[in-house]
């Protein structure tokens, strides 16, 4: 009697435990069954059936940090085609020995052609899929196939996608107008009424010959270099045009994303002066009593230092610095004006003035919401710039001024 009740308890216990083992593990995948995707290129294929051509840059981990490397390429590119993004992904999996794991996508490159046709549909899958992350960086490949960007050997990082990320981070700190543009930012940009996102451009500089082999790096000057380039301006989800130079810098300033950029101005009678703008603070206000004719006031204050001075200037005198400031202010205003003019030209409020308007006058915004691009193209902007020269770096006057 006692024995049978014990075995009954044992039986129940086993029945409780065994299903746990069966139920668990169904989505467990060991690391050596995964193929980690570092970057995805999205190209326009031929016709509707092959609308999306997805190229996955898969990391060959053994080649990067393993002990027994075979001397093969550190990444491999697999391509899939389909009506939709998901179908293309499924197609690509036919070629890969392991599960394509999208959790570590650093970079998404979209070809210019796809961008011109619209990127709305593909953004949905990026947001919906649980594996992909919203912090992946987005790029538009200017005039080239996106898959070419994903299949170029790079010098500094064995993984080209990582190389591109690092390049963007570096340039956004040192040069200026490119800044981090993540999937999340792009989706929010598309939702801007009458506007659109701004996305970094990327190109390959040099010859494509042998760019996808080690030969690319065998010479001191690499044949082909991935390069972060101009900004792609969108209206809704379609590419409208490319911003560069002053226009691009002004756009970045208006987005308040600038970290530091060189400003070069001509000083009458003594050549060029180079400044390092290391802090910019932007504020946009609007007088929107009449929603059809709002007046935007863009207020910007900057802190700069002198990096390069023509030798004749006496930088120890406060007056000299006071005289320099207006020139700098004019330079900043020019950039912002150029950016606004270009946005007006494209009839796209990708800078987000509409949001300022909506916050200030929600009722008025409802009236102009549907034809905001027309109102935007016609409305008035006032720019109030201010700049302070904080220091002249570790010299005061140039060595040539001292007797």
């Amino acid at each position: 009697m006692k024995k049978s009740s014990f075995s009954l308890v044992l039986l129940i216990a086993i029945q409780l435990v065994i299903p746990l083992v069966l139920a668990g593990c169904w989505d467990s995948v060991e690391l050596n069954r995964r193929a980690i995707v570092s970057g995805v290129a999205i190209d326009r294929g031929e016709g509707e059936a092959e609308k999306y051509v997805l190229s996955f840059q898969v990391i060959v981990a053994d080649e990067i940090s393993g002990e027994n490397t075979r001397g093969i390429s550190p990444v491999a590119l697999y391509t899939g085609k389909g009506h939709t993004m998901f179908e293309a992904l499924a197609n690509a999996s036919r070629q890969t020995a392991r599960f394509l794991s999208l959790g570590h996508i650093r970079v998404l490159v979209i070809s210019e052609k796809v961008a011109q046709e619209g990127i709305k549909d593909m953004m949905d899958v990026l947001e919906r899929e649980s594996d992909t992350r919203l912090t992946s960086l987005m790029f538009i490949s200017k005039g080239q196939q996106a898959r070419e960007i994903m299949s170029t050997m790079t010098v500094f990082s064995k993984i080209p996608a990582n190389d591109l990320v690092e390049k963007l981070d570096t340039t956004s700190k040192q040069f200026g107008y490119n800044y981090r543009m993540e999937v999340d930012d792009v989706i929010r940009g598309i939702q801007l009424r009458g506007g659109g996102p701004v996305i970094n451009g990327v190109i390959i500089d040099g010859s494509r010959e042998g760019a996808d082999t080690n030969d690319n790096m065998k010479t001191i000057a690499p044949h082909a270099v991935i390069k972060v380039t101009e900004l792609a301006a969108f209206k809704d989800d379609r590419l409208k045009g490319w911003l560069k130079g002053n226009t691009a810098l002004g756009t970045a300033l208006l987005h308040n994303k600038i970290k530091g950029y060189p400003a070069v101005i001509r000083y009458p009678g003594s050549g060029f002066i180079a400044f390092n703008v290391y802090q910019s603070q932007l504020e946009v206000r609007v007088k929107a009593a009449d929603p059809e004719h709002p007046v935007f006031i863009v207020k910007i204050s900057q802190q700069v230092s002198i990096k390069e001075s023509p030798n004749s200037l006496d930088l120890t005198s406060p007056e000299t610095l006071q005289n320099l400031s207006p020139l700098l202010i004019e330079d900043t205003a020019t950039k912002i004006r150029a950016a606004i003019e270009t946005a007006k030209k494209y009839k796209s409020d990708y800078i987000g003035f509409g949001q300022v308007m909506e916050r200030k006058n929600p009722q008025g915004w409802k009236k102009v919401r549907d034809h905001w691009e027309d109102v935007f193209a016609a409305c008035e902007f006032r720019i109030e710039a201010d700049a302070v020269i904080r220091h002249t770096d570790i010299r005061s006057n140039s060595f040539q001024i001292n007797p």
Binding site: L20, V29, L31, N32, I36, A61, H104
Partner: protein, 550 residues
Amino acid sequence: MSSGRRNMDSQAEAAGLTGRGGRTSGLTEDLDETILNIRTELGESPDLKVRRLQIGGERSVQAAAIHISGLADPAAVNEFVIGSLLAEPQKLPESAANPARIQAVLLDGILELGDAEVTDGWNDLLLAVLSGDTAVLIEGCMSAVLCDTKGGESRSVEESSSQMVVRGPKDGFVESVATNISLIRRRIKSPKLRLEYTRVGTETQTHVAMLYMKELAGKDLVEEVRSRLNKIAIDEVLESGFIEELIQDKTFTPFPTIFNSERPDVAAGNLLEGRVVIIIDGTPFVLILPAVFTQFFQSAEDYSQRFDIAILMRLVRYVSFIVLLLGPSVYIALTTYHYEMIPTTLLINLLSQRETVPFPAFVEALLMEGAFEILREAGVRMPRVIGQTVSVVGALILGSAVVEAGIITPIMVIVIALTGIASFAIPSYNMAIAGRIIRFGFLLLGGMFGFYGITLGLIVLVAHMNSLRSFGIPYLSPFVPLSVKGQKDTLLRLPLWLMKSGKTPAQLRKEMPDYKRVTTGHEAALAPLIRNNDAAGRKQDREDGRDEEK
């Protein structure tokens, strides 16, 4: 002492010593018969020493001194029992006509012992002799005189080997209950310290002492401990673990609900916090109760070091407990379910490590954990001479060979090693082994369900800990139920003056004679402050003094 003895005698009777020889009493008026009875009762044991004497004037009275060699202190038996019995015969009555009178004279003027008394209980006699006392029997007397000659070999007070400190007292408890009590009494010279004796174990008749501070320890608590101790009905008590298991609130839990220590300073500190200390004869480990979870992460050293450093060390211990519980399971959950949470560069590293490993991460972890447990178990039992071998073999096999052979990934070795070291960072050994067991549960959960399983496991664990009580005190207090005041000595260890509520450092320091005061050069600025504190301190002193006079 005598009341204690009476207490334990009745205990012995209750425990049923009488039943042993089927004899109600072996004490007779005939000395020879009594000695024979004792001999028979103890199975003709050769270490039972019977010394026959002729005492009294003209050496007219037959007597015998009985003790067990090894248990009794030979010097005490020779000098204070037999020596004094034979020394001054003229003090004793000359005839054996009145044996009771002889006994009275023995107690009053002959026996040079601090503790001696008359008993007519057969079991009391046997128990006393078995405890190391000497029994003096007199012809024609139905009772015996019991002389306290307990002694024999025992270990001297040494540094505790299980709970070591860098700074702090170095003495540790020993196996003798009397020595242990003295170690505590030396630290607390207060009349409020209460001691109660009882005997537990029908065969072993082990001395169990219960200590508490009157007024500080709750009456209910003391009563509860007393009643639980008295309810124990077991043959043998060989270690404090026996008592712990029989009086704890819950058996089916990995967590210890009674604290144990080998350190007198810890026992004293806990007494002063109102806890009860149980000392068991034959083991250097005393029980301290009630115990709460945070207590197992406190070390005696916390109070010797500066408070900020003590806080840091305490946090390190809590972190190591979490690492011990979750280290391998989080690693497995991360690599098999949540690879997206691992930073990309690290992931590439892990990927290439795993490339050639034949087992799933879960099996890998189980293998390594198993090997580590074997190693640890072997290391504990290993004779000290060959102990080195274990560490060499362990370091070689677990450290490098498995990695070189490609069976285990290097990162797994790191994870397991970290877990192993974390288990040693916990000051209380029984909490550390609790963590080691629970870790395997989490390993299973992490391997089957990932973070989802680990989270569920943690919820169940916390619920279980909430259900635990130690003598009525919730195990997780002062967190659950939350007491803000109780936090002063749990995760943190605040400075002493902050812990003792409402007193400033100066008040705690009391007044210091002027000539001893260290000059800082800032007296002028501090003067008003010092004056105030001194005034308060002096007033306090005066009151204290008055109390003492009374």
